[in-house]
Symmetry: C2
Subunit: 151 residues, 2 copies
DNA sequence: CTGCATCCTGCAAATCATTTGCATCTGGGA
DNA sequence: TCCCAGATGCAAATGATTTGCAGGATGCAG
């Protein structure tokens, strides 16, 4: 499988993840442990359904949704919306704000992480011109991956 | 109201819009005429529901969805996904490819158009580095608008 | 180690946005 | 004006996500 950018800081043990959970005054339950593991071991961003499948019906889909939301609020995962009607989630490393972008293949949905972000100068300019405050952005790239080009 | 970038090329008459529709071998029906009018007169991007409401139940919601898709395929409207689970549509001017971005207020959802796009150089670099072909991007900005800052 | 209040979970039903089947209707060329 | 492919209305189907509720498990207190 395509696996160019494996720079996950979260090759952290589940123990550490559990500790982070505990620090948020949240309980470390079996489903949550499994969900964190799935996110840690799985390919880049995973949808709730994918997480659920990876857990082999160990827990309910609703629990996956609830846990994912909780983890997002706790700053342990980040939600990405690639515009196809499905939310995807990625595990974040400690202190990682998760700001990065993706390059998605239009054909096979392979997702590659983009390390460098575009110049924040534009963000600044947009903020000052419009009068908006705290301007952030969401940026995703789309194209056809090498494999799908030949196929 | 915030109204920095009102540069709609589509101050076109409905007649012209109808002509464009006809050129696509599509029928000019009452619902479609109304939908085009709503998009032309309404604020920036509109969701199917908003369009439907603007039409005061003149036609079915399903028709709005079908028409919007048809218009998108015909290149007359463009779909934008701001990541809140609702698709929004904008009318495009003749020959306009609709490539521009938005600045959305996190509080009141006001949307301002951003005219300038960031450097396509990054797009190029990303393409060559990853081996992907036909790389495009989707970029949206979020912040707090002037009105909401004081409120 | 044990009890217990609290937080979680499973299950099922409810929402929401969007799509689709189907019978009926209509725009516009012949 | 006639006719039919293409449109529409209505209702039901989908798909993703959320929520109500009763029973279950976690982690602190004792």
């Amino acid at each position: 499988m395509g696996d160019a950018h494996h720079h996950k800081p979260q090759l952290a043990g589940l123990g550490e993840l559990a500790a982070r959970l505990r620090n948020c005054a949240r309980r470390v339950t079996e489903p949550r442990r499994e969900i964190l593991r799935a996110l840690r071991d799985g390919a880049h961003p995973m949808s709730p359904k994918q997480v659920h499948q990876a857990l082999h019906d160990t827990c309910d889909l609703a629990t996956v949704y609830r846990s994912l939301h909780m983890l997002e609020a706790a700053g342990m995962v980040k939600r990405f919306d690639l515009g196809d009607g499905v939310r995807r989630f990625e595990l974040l490393g400690e202190g990682d704000d998760g700001h990065h972008h993706h390059l998605v293949c239009k054909r096979c949905d392979t997702v590659v992480e983009i390390d460098d972000c575009f110049t924040p100068a534009l963000e600044q300019r947009i903020a000052s011109r419009s009068g908006f405050a705290g301007v952030t952005h969401r940026l995703e790239f789309f194209g056809t991956c090498p494999a799908c080009q030949t196929a």
